[in-house]
């Protein structure tokens, strides 16, 4: 098994240019890793087969039906989100190849507050949802984006972008829900970005995220930075294909977290009774908690969550709907799992807790003091 898969890669590499790379591939302990993963795959297949047998069996039919429901919800979350993640990865690939550090540094203001606000508004330029924003943010960090700007972008972009404005307008029309959603998301994200302004990037970001673009390049490139431009001059398509290849890497890297998150969300949905949550609609405080919990668990893409929120508009107060529309795009099960690929664990915890607290406080205040 290992002998079939591994050698194909060094063969297509021009060995004389990358001697150390070839060596690394050959000497990597592919054998044991492969058989271990083969075992895992077998185990997975066995579990699936087991589940299928249960599904066919009438005695345990309800368990089988539940499993079927779980699979349908899992696949629906995945199929719905995957185009957005791929789009984000493609944008990330193009950023990697075509955006240079100097441009980015010139574009971001020096003043910390202005910088955070810029981050909050950047979604208007990169229209991505909460799946796509993660790979884009990671690439922008590798291009030297300040961490406060990146965090403001990460949290705001899933709402403050033309696609989501359009879908929210389609669902709620021009009105307080639309303005408040945009305004609150923008402000909360910028404030949280600002909070991280003083933090040490080494404490916040994973080492891979901090890695600057030039060091990612292979040391064999003596001409280093100018490499891309040379390539582009010789063959115009090269940059494009390179960007797509990076997109593929980024997608596969992030997809694991999307899939793990979709599995979790589907599991919660199959097991937890939703009516218990919906029963909390009457109270000013619990109604908001319930909608935020629902947003976290459902993990629905921010480009369409407005239509979903519409379904609850009759049984929940507007501020609770707003909490759903503001908090959900910032943090949900699948996106927060993907955060782990960019930030250190402790930062991820803050990135869940801070938006939660701020959204909760603001929307409870609105619920008690504002007549809609």
């Amino acid at each position: 098994m290992s002998t079939v898969n591994v050698p194909s890669s060094p063969l297509e590499l021009p060995d004389e240019t990358y001697p150390d790379r070839t060596q690394a591939v050959v000497s990597s302990p592919a054998g044991p890793i492969l058989s271990k993963s083969a075992l895992r795959l077998l185990l997975l297949l066995f579990l699936l087969g087991f589940a299928l047998v249960i599904g066919e069996n009438d005695l345990t039919g309800s368990l089988g039906n539940r499993f079927q429901t779980f699979v349908t919800i899992f696949l629906s979350l995945f199929i719905e989100a995957v185009p957005f993640l791929l789009a984000g990865a493609i944008v990330a690939g193009f950023i990697e190849v075509f955006v240079n550090r100097e441009l980015l540094t010139r574009f971001v203001p020096r003043h910390p507050i202005l910088a955070a606000l810029t981050g909050g508004a950047m979604g208007m330029v990169f229209p991505v949802c909460e799946c796509g924003v993660v790979p884009v943010t990671r690439r922008l960090y590798q291009k030297g984006l300040p961490q406060s700007v990146g965090i403001a972008f990460l949290l705001a972009a899933p709402v403050v972008n033309p696609v989501v404005v359009a879908s929210t307008y389609a669902a709620f029309g021009w009105g307080p829900i639309l303005y408040a959603r945009l305004g609150l998301s923008f402000l909360i994200a910028s404030v949280i970005g600002l909070i991280f302004y003083l933090a040490d990037p080494n404490e916040i970001l994973l080492p891979e995220t901090l890695e600057s673009t030039s060091s990612v390049h292979h040391p064999a490139h003596a001409h280093g930075h100018g490499h891309h431009h040379d390539d582009l001059d010789h063959s115009p398509g090269a940059g494009l294909w390179q960007a797509l290849g990076i997109a593929g890497d980024d997608f596969l890297d992030m997809a694991r977290y999307l899939i793990a998150g979709s599995l979790l969300a589907a599991g919660m949905q199959t097991l937890a009774p939703q009516s218990a949550l919906l029963a909390l609609g009457g109270n000013a405080f619990t109604s908001i908690l319930a909608m935020m919990a629902l947003a976290f668990v459902l993990s629905v893409c921010s480009t369409v969550d407005a239509f979903l929120a519409l379904a609850f508009a009759n049984s929940f107060p507007p501020a609770a709907i707003l909490a759903f529309l503001v908090f959900g795009p910032m943090v949900d099960i699948k996106s927060s799992l993907m955060f782990l690929r960019v930030f250190k664990r402790r930062t991820v915890a803050y990135l869940i807790l801070l938006p939660f607290m701020v959204t909760l406080v603001v929307t409870v205040y609105l619920n008690l003091n504002v007549r809609w």
Partner: protein, 240 residues
């Protein structure tokens, strides 16, 4: 991770998404509005997968990127949707999801029923379950539609709250994907209700009369005929 393996994984992902569309199962998972996105993504996956081959002729530092954390275990996880999708026979959400969602009388009549809806313009004979529920809700009077003919398609559902001659003909309303599905249904009065099994798709023809379900007054569909049918091409209803 070998670039060829990645390329194959991406291309397989694209083919998997396309196969869902090609087999018509895509409607079991997402709203019809997003089908074009899935098709676009399946094409994009194949192009991105191919870029590993084409791109490698121009430049060679694909593998130099620091994604060594992407292991075979990670690949297994990425393959999971494909494996589950191929092994578990595709089926839309049905009565099992309804029991979990713990459908209440309240949600029978109110969940996922938006206020404004242009379906009222639809001819009465073509109104689906969602249209009727919205109508009932807006009228607020169980007797408002007495005598009107109705013909609806849905799956059968019963629990302990139903009388012996009652069942619910139900559909899920989906605005984005099956993850946000909300159940809706009409109470059907039919002497042989108990012969129907959960999840059996039926076409119910009859007329509306004021009735009672679980102690509450609500419009009830008195069935003249019940015809078993296949799962419709689009099993969910869309609230727009």
């Amino acid at each position: 991770m070998n670039a060829n393996v990645k390329a194959v994984a991406l291309i397989l992902m694209g083919l998997f998404l396309y196969s869902r569309f090609f087999n018509g199962n895509l409607f079991y998972y997402i709203s019809e509005r997003f089908v074009w996105l899935t098709i676009l993504a399946s094409v994009a996956f194949i192009i991105v997968g191919l870029s590993y081959r084409i791109g490698s002729r121009h430049q060679h530092d694909h593998e130099g990127h620091s994604h060594d954390q992407f292991s075979w275990g990670g690949l297994a996880l990425v393959a999971l949707p494909i494996v589950l999708g191929l092994l578990v026979p595709p089926r839309p959400l049905g009565a099992a999801a309804l029991t979990n969602r713990d459908v209440s009388v309240e949600s029978l009549t109110s969940a996922a029923a938006p206020e404004s809806n242009n379906v009222l313009a639809r001819p009465k004979g073509e109104r689906n379950i969602l249209d009727w529920v919205i109508d009932f809700r807006q009228a607020g009077d169980p007797a408002a539609f007495t005598g009107e003919e109705a013909r609806v398609i849905g799956f059968a559902y019963r629990d302990e709250r139903f009388a012996a001659d009652q069942f619910m003909v139900a559909r899920f309303v989906v605005s984005c994907c099956a993850a946000d599905a909300a159940p809706l249904g009409l109470i059907v009065q039919w002497p042989d209700s108990q012969t129907l099994t959960d999840d059996q798709w039926v076409e119910v023809a009859g007329h509306i009369e004021p009735g009672r379900f679980a102690g509450e007054a609500m419009p009830v569909l008195i069935a003249d005929s019940i015809t078993p049918t296949d799962i419709p091409e689009r099993p969910y209803l869309y609230p727009y």
